[in-house]
Symmetry: C2
Subunit: 234 residues, 2 copies
């Protein structure tokens, strides 16, 4: 039995990161997603036993194969009974599917998003080291979400969606696990807005993602007195 | 000679956190600042040898004394020659003054802002442990800034203001120091906007700051699909 698999769910290239439109064209948003997926999997590869990419999108799965990753075709679930889009039912089901696939093959899984290119080897190594003695590790994202979970496969029900950080902690406690919060700015930074691109420009030295943004001549300025970033391009 | 002093520069209560107006009244903003200062100094107290509060504002200094902290009255420097407000000349001069005061008394200083109430004992303990073998530690803030520095007093010129994270690293390299970046979401979170208050509501269990916000009946909701927080009050 292996020690740890990474599970990275990836949505369709075509509809992703719409908040970066029209700053980036659909083609550019796809290239950005590819660069981010490359960064995170390059970081993970020497450290985990296997990287699973689960997606409905054939183009995503083809690209994952090019990167030498294991792919899982996401089952086409019936629409969730609930109509609240915030439930994120599709994502949670995809993760369950990937965990079922992994259950008899690996002791632990680390669930990560594809859009945190600032993640570092030191983050992952420390997390995996910590997970030897901890049964549940969670990394928050900005805005109350969850960017990473480490546990046994299927240890808790997935609650991605609004306020998932609190919900995952509650689920873990329900299962008598002891949640440990891993505190990381770089892992909290998922890329959704132009301001997030600014953080990549500042902190992303050596990443494919920064290289790609530089190729688009993206510039970042500081908005004085607001500690916010103004991101522009030529 | 002591091991490490904390230096916390504090601006005037009256003009602080204007971006939280009109959501919070002037009186409420002052109370918020007091709660945050209490949180950070309570966390630091058992770990550092001394906590220095430097400010021009007598009300700030009186409050610091109430908390049992060491106070330094900030010298009234002539207006910086440069007219660029982004230079943050006053803050950088105040820090220099506090470092001169400390120079012969302590080996290292840790410079922190007063508005990062989510900082945890584990953060500080780890940082101080690391500083035994590292000559320069920096903690980034959102938007390209610096939230914490650890070094010898006067080891580098202070560059607080726009893009200070990059500037401090450059200064350290100029002085042949080896900058180490400490990656922390909770230490990156300085409080400037209502959305930042939302993060406190989510992650600030046990802090005075969250207790105070709760007393104002502040509520936080998730803005679906935007990974942003909507913060309201009754």
């Amino acid at each position: 039995m292996d020690k740890i698999y990474a599970i990275i769910p990836v949505s369709q290239f075509a509809n992703a990161k719409t908040r970066l439109s029209p700053f980036l064209s659909p083609e550019e948003r796809k290239n950005l997603l590819k660069a981010m997926l490359k960064d995170i999997t390059t970081t993970l590869k020497p450290i985990v036993d296997k990287i699973l990419i689960i997606s409905k999108d054939e183009e995503v799965l083809d690209y994952a194969k090019e990167l030498g990753l294991t792919t899982i075709i996401e089952e086409d679930h019936k629409k969730s009974k609930s109509l609240k889009p915030s439930d994120n039912g599709g994502l949670n089901k995809a993760l369950k599917q990937a965990m079922k696939w992994s259950r008899k093959k690996t002791r632990k899984i680390i669930i990560l998003p594809s859009d945190i290119p600032l993640i570092r080897k030191t983050n992952i190594k420390l997390l995996i080291e910590q997970s030897k003695n901890l049964d549940f590790i969670i990394v928050p994202s900005k805005g109350g979400g969850t960017n990473t979970l480490i546990a046994k496969p299927l240890a808790i029900d997935m609650k991605f969606g609004e306020f998932s950080f609190k919900k995952h902690i509650e689920e873990a406690e329900k299962k008598k696990l002891t949640p440990f919060v891993h505190d990381s700015f770089y892992m909290a930074l998922d890329v959704n807005t132009t301001e997030d691109l600014g953080e990549i420009m500042i902190h992303g030295n050596g990443t494919e993602t920064k290289k790609y943004l530089e190729s688009l001549e993206i510039k970042v300025e500081s908005i004085h007195g607001h500690e916010r970033l103004k991101v522009t391009r030529n």
